[in-house]
Symmetry: C2
Subunit: 428 residues, 2 copies
């Protein structure tokens, strides 16, 4: 057995405390799997006297995070503080000081990943971050390694548990967004300020990371088109159900003619799609590739213990690499692909309209689609008189043409109201 | 860029031809991802003039497989011949000659894996085999690496597409086993001799590999308890449906008090279980671990192109390792666990009985369970007179106690027939 590897853990909140717990409880197994014991050398916290979910000797706790990562004997650093600073400075200092780093920091990776990747390359150290996307679900490693001989063409992910819980609740109970959000907050699935989740910022960060890995290029959170779920209504959800679909907030990464479309928005997907049955706060990532076909990875997308499982998996790998004097595959951005603007992205729309109940309405609406070069897949006419409705599902077209069509519909005399507009995914 | 790595492909059937195609079509991407070009140095085939799904220069083809792997300049060997010999000798020769090996050979790994692992260790070379279980689905790498910091407690796998197709067909159409098998054969999902699939031999090999990796111990195919699906009747499937379940052939690997239960048998699982919606010839592996919770990996479990995707993913990894002068994690069997005999395995039974329609029948049946120390979870009484039926679902008990209960029921005067006996999984 080799001499122990020293690990510093930065942050001891819900994830950090579980990382520490697993390091303690699984120490024999970890040593057997790595080939050397892991020694917890220090835990950086904001306040020494804060209550914690794990028992720790006082001498391991410090408020001096930078002192911990630069003290000279740290082999491995786990960063589970989150946010941009001081996490970035700490990771950079850790790499410069010869440590390999495992992080769960999606926001930092999506905003400034290349700075970190380059620092890891320069230092010849590992930077692993499986826990940054979809919690416990192994998805980054499969994309980076298992599918490295294949050509990934599309990734559809339910990568935010809060919004999936809310949409699932709306679907099963008929509740509106506000009520479902309120229940999610009561149950601890949503924060008091739910913006990062419900407006899709969290999912967009994950989409950027997924697109970068899937397509071997650089995509940042700012490159990701983003719509949240706060505008999704009970009527949208009911309308989806009427056509045998469910509404999900999807992180979508697609390759089209060599360019990358990366976007986050609510979409209707058929109930038969494997993602449709992902319930509650669970996450799942659906991957399409040329040779493998359709794969799906499913599991808990958040939570201290699941996220810690992903962190520890990475820790075992970087520890093995450290012992072997090597490192894993670093950033792979050789393809340097262009980004497709949202308007040029090809999608389908589901549009529900309150219309006047008279002859010629269907023709006029059909013309509004045709004028933008959008062809119609199905039209359903429902109700009579003041309740007359049209439900139109388009064939795939550019998002710009579809948006222009909807704008035009809103201004037509015979259209009393556009009651639901939503993109449709996963239907082919 | 480094100088090319030379790869020999052994076998050019449905998988081998797709491996060769991907090597040709993706060569630029593979070179960028590996850091060196991959040069196809030779393809060993049985007959030089056989029709092939891929175009190959004549000079690359050889019938001298052992000559190819021992010629001295081969860096990487892909073995997709299948079966025990000559595959084993070829892999051993390749390792001895300094090549790293990627194989899809589940039968060989499940029968004699340790011999191969030891040869790889001795040679200091990689032996990777993601394609051996569940085709394109990345499952072995997640078990070996992503979950290396966690404690896997159970693996439930639908790992044989042929039997899943047949059971799905029986479920959706009400067909009996023979008709569903016949359709599977017509569609190319089942072989003319379907024994290896329908009797669970294929799934048992995969269960052995999954159990070995999940629990860090050695499990061979001979250690796996095995029942196939040829005795599953339309009545079993209908009975499952009546209780909101479906019948699946499961590969089950469980840790119980530190010992391993590895088994393959048909089981009823609730329709709400993520595995229940795995349709047709798709595969999925459901993993339970202490920290991560419940994960599922889903995708195509067979086919030339999906299997080749898994082979190529491994090839990229072992090529990177070769370039870095290192190797990936080898066999991890440090836990050296005991195997639990089937009789001591804890399961639940679903039992359906034709019974006499008279007072005291339910009490007598309940006593038969109680006599073996088995407690009953639910009893449903159906029909009257000559159609009187009891459907009993037990609480978990040892398989031996449950089997003894069924034996006893079969001999009771008031029991006219035991019409369906099946284990129940995934219910807790």
């Amino acid at each position: 057995m080799n001499s122990p590897l020293k690990v510093a853990v930065l942050g001891c909140g819900s994830v950090g405390s579980q990382v520490v717990r697993l390091l303690q409880e699984q120490s024999d197994d970890l040593a057997a799997r790595i080939g050397a014991p892991i020694e917890l050398a220090g835990v950086a916290v904001r306040r020494l006297d804060a209550p914690r979910e794990v028992e720790l000797p006082d001498e391991l706790l410090t408020t001096d995070a930078i002192g911990l990562v630069t003290r000279g004997d740290i082999d491995l650093v786990v960063e589970v503080i989150g946010g941009i600073e001081p996490a970035r400075s700490l990771i950079l200092a850790a790499l410069e000081n010869g440590a390999s780093v495992v992080t769960a920091n999606k926001a930092l990776l999506a905003e400034d990943g290349p700075t970190l990747y380059e620092a890891a390359d320069k230092a010849g150290r590992d930077l692993y971050f499986e826990a940054a996307v979809a919690g416990a679900i192994p998805i980054l490693r499969p994309l980076r390694e298992s599918l490295a001989g294949d050509k990934v063409t599309r990734v559809l992910g339910i990568v935010n548990g809060t919004t999936n819980f809310i949409l699932d609740k709306m679907d099963t109970s008929g509740a509106g967004f506000a009520d479902a959000l309120s229940e999610a907050q009561d149950l601890g699935y949503a924060e008091a300020d739910p913006t990062a989740d419900v407006e899709g910022f969290d999912a967009a960060a994950k989409a950027a990371i997924l697109a970068s890995l899937a397509f071997h290029t650089r995509v940042t959170a700012a490159d990701v088109y983003r719509e949240g779920i706060s505008e999704v209504t009970a009527a949208d959800v009911a309308s989806a159900r009427d056509m045998g679909s469910v509404v999900k907030l999807l992180a979508i990464c697609e390759l089209r003619d060599g360019a990358v479309s990366a976007r986050v928005h609510p979409a209707m997907i058929p109930a038969s799609h494997p993602l449709a049955s992902v319930r509650g706060a669970y996450n799942a990532v659906f991957v399409e590739s040329e040779a493998a076909g359709q794969l799906m990875f499913y599991g808990p997308g958040a939570g201290g213990s699941p996220t810690a499982s992903a962190v520890l998996g990475d820790l075992v790998t970087v520890a093995r690499n450290k012992l072997a004097g090597t490192r894993g595959a670093g950033e792979s951005a050789y393809a340097a692909r262009e980004l497709l603007p949202m308007g040029e992205t090809v999608t389908s729309y589901h549009v529900q309209l309150d219309v006047d109940d008279r002859a010629g309405v269907l023709a006029a609406v059909a013309n509004a689609f045709a004028d933008q070069g959008v062809s119609i897949q199905t039209v359903r006419q429902e109700g009579r008189g003041a309740d007359a409705q049209l439900v139109v599902v388009s064939h795939p077209a550019t998002d710009a043409a579809l948006a222009a069509t909807v704008d035009h519909l809103r201004n037509m005399d015979i259209v009393r109201d556009v009651t639901s507009v939503m993109r449709v995914e996963g239907a082919e």
